[in-house]
């Protein structure tokens, strides 16, 4: 095997660490070790290790998970169009995010505890022991920041965070995408805003530019220019 072939092998990364005791006379090229490279999903080995570690840890207790499951269902319930936050796996996503962004941990745990404290103050029972109507009466106190009283500010702040994590978790899931009607992230040919939408918003394409815009049927034709930069082919 000559040096160049050797190099090619090295740079495929397939052989991983390739360092052995080489003498000074040997080419440095063959000694330089090569990274084993990426694994899956475009993640570097370091990134994969971080995710793996986070996924192996557990933050929320069973009691907390029970409460979270209830709350995310209240925030994003199933309706006639689609499923709920639970259907979309939102609690697992929140479990991951509080480990990924540790600043969320105390806010989430503290908020879940605040619900119990507040329930005890009002009803002498912890949150999950309340009736459905009682729970909702507490949620109504904290779910509308513009109307909430200063006494429940900690509840409001918690619910704002929980709402954010729940809605973002839901709408970045497969069922959330379908519910939203997002139809992109796939190969396609952009040829401008649909005609009926242009009409609705009373806008139009500048006729002076009409000939300059990309014509979909030209996408396969290798571009050629004259000396002044005008496209001629």
């Amino acid at each position: 095997m000559n040096r160049r072939e050797n190099l090619k092998l090295l740079f495929t990364g397939a052989s991983g660490f390739l360092l052995a005791g080489c003498s000074v006379e040997e080419s440095a090229v063959e000694e330089v070790p090569v990274n084993a490279g990426f694994s899956t999903s475009g993640r570097s080995p370091e990134e994969i290790a971080i995710d793996k570690k986070l996924l192996s840890e557990t933050f929320f207790t069973e009691k907390e998970v029970e409460k979270l499951n209830y709350l995310v269902e209240v925030i994003i319930p199933a309706d006639e169009d689609s499923g709920s936050a639970l259907d979309a796996g939102v609690p697992d996503f929140i479990e991951f995010m509080v480990k990924d962004i540790p600043a969320y941990q105390t806010r989430m745990r503290g908020g879940l505890s605040w619900l119990d404290n507040h329930a005890l103050d009002r009803f002498d029972k912890i949150f999950m022991e309340l009736s459905g109507n009682e729970r909702i009466s507490i949620i109504d106190e904290i779910a509308y920041p513009d109307k909430a009283t200063p006494e429940v500010i900690n509840g409001v702040k918690f619910f704002n965070l929980l709402r954010d994590l729940t809605t973002t978790g839901y709408f970045t899931s497969k069922i959330g995408f379908d519910d939203l009607g997002y139809v992109g992230n796939r190969p396609n040919v952009w040829d401008g805003v649909p005609e009926h939408v242009l009409e609705k918003y009373k806008v139009s394409y500048d006729p002076k530019l009409a000939d300059l815009y990309l014509k979909p049927d030209q996408r396969g034709v290798v571009a050629q220019w004259d000396n002044d930069g005008n496209l001629i082919g």
Partner: protein, 579 residues
Amino acid sequence: MSFQIKESAQEYDVIIVGSGAGGGMASKILSEAGFSIAVVEAGGDFDPAKEEHRTQLRFPWESPRRGAGTIRPFGDFDAAIGGWDIEGEPYTRNTGTRFDWFRSRMLGGRTNHWGRISLRFGPNDFKRSSIDGLGDDWPIGYDDLKPYYDKVDKLIGVFGTKEGIYNEPDGFFLPPPKPRLHELLIKKSADKVNIPVIPSRLSVLTRPINNERGVCFFCNQCNRACQAYADFSSGTCLVKPAMKKGKVDLFTNSMVRKVTTNDRGDATGVSFVSKMDLKEYKLKSRVVVLGASACESARIMLNSKSKTHPDGLGNQSGMVGRYLHDSTGADRMAVIPDLVDRDRYNEDGTGGMHVYTPWWLDNKKLDFARGYHIEFWGGMGMPSYGFGTGMDTLRSHIKDEFGSPSPNGGYGTGLKKDIKRFYGTTVGMSGRGESVPQYDNYCEIDQTTVDKYGIPVLKFNYNWTDQELKQAKHMHETFEEILLGMGGKLLGAKPGKESQYGLHAPGRIIHEVGTTRMGNDPASSVLNSNCQAHDCKNLFVVDGGPFVSQADKNPTWTILALAWRTSDYIVDQLKKKNI
């Protein structure tokens, strides 16, 4: 095994440090001229066409954090590996000053994730001192670079339209994509106040330029690196083709520590630390080309001290690291109530914006010296981490059929429906402007700190001046004018003096240049007009370092043109045996 320095017996014609825009272009031109090349890259290999490297067309649920920016600053699916903070690779700042240094450690460097905005500098951009008396003129002008801009356009591809604007020179353009809905609305509003909105100029192939790269399939994800090679990145368009055709060896995960020199003070090669075994390796060459990024190249030069270069290589003037400057940046966004309840269709389009605003005013009539361009964003993009949040303040923008607003916050089916109604209603704009280079804005070696490879790190000292603050203030006035003119409800408060008019910290726009600037006078510049070190004739710099001033344009197209011109000069000098 005991520590030992491993030295290659082979001598290359040229060693190129860094595989971004400048290093990539040098590898292509120099290898095509028949020279043997070693490209030394601090990060790993990267090829977006490989399934294991691909982040393009992935859905958010393929990331446990749904694409949040916890690990990579622009999110899990962004192609740039690295960021402003890299484990084991610190930098420091002088107290009371700030510069944030973004690095991508990978083949192709930062060209893997940028916005592909590919603007030529205009004639005025090389002669700012002659126009406003601030800073310095470049030792070259637009006419020197024009032939290279032309060649870059044809080699790499850029869409746009010929507009005939003096300081926004036209090129060899591919057809631009039609604007999206919010872009048409922005243009309509801007037209009313005589602010131009013209088709963008992005290095995205709307049509093929050769048979080696594919064309854009409109996924809006250039920042994720394109598996069809339909956008420009240095790895896919320059380095890999050079490796295929020429004598190019690529060394990855190799952190260059210094340029080695001989007794005469000429460069003899580089020493680098392998990230895989933390051992030092040496490579020899006739010529060394630095394209490691403006700050990293300055760091390497300052760390390359020797008897003949006691203050660092190329630094007899003391100018290495000086005149560091980034583009200015400020942003604003608004909700457009007319866009509530949008019809759904795929409006992903190309990466980035389909229209933009080039600088349109005369600074002589303003209270700041340099201009800015405006980038626009909005539309029905793919949801990612953060989508659907902020309903505690945004939901009241949604009104029912009787005109009553929804309550902020809330929960349940009503909330779920309102988020769907809200989708695609926000638009934003970002000003990116020219700052005035300052001697007192610089990076230097922090003699008290090393990175995990034992290499002394950079310490930054950077403050904006009144010029940049007044420019940012003007940006915000323009943003409000356009956004309000389209019926927008502005989000957040207009930033005032106390928050530097919303001006981003230096380094945040990732256009830093100027650290090894060109000039005719060896006492006030690092490089001559061919980007050759004044005090070391076989050392060249091909990244943003040579820029005398960073225009109100993105720097990549100029880095590419300048690197090509420098490479032609190196070929000429090697053939004449002058170096």
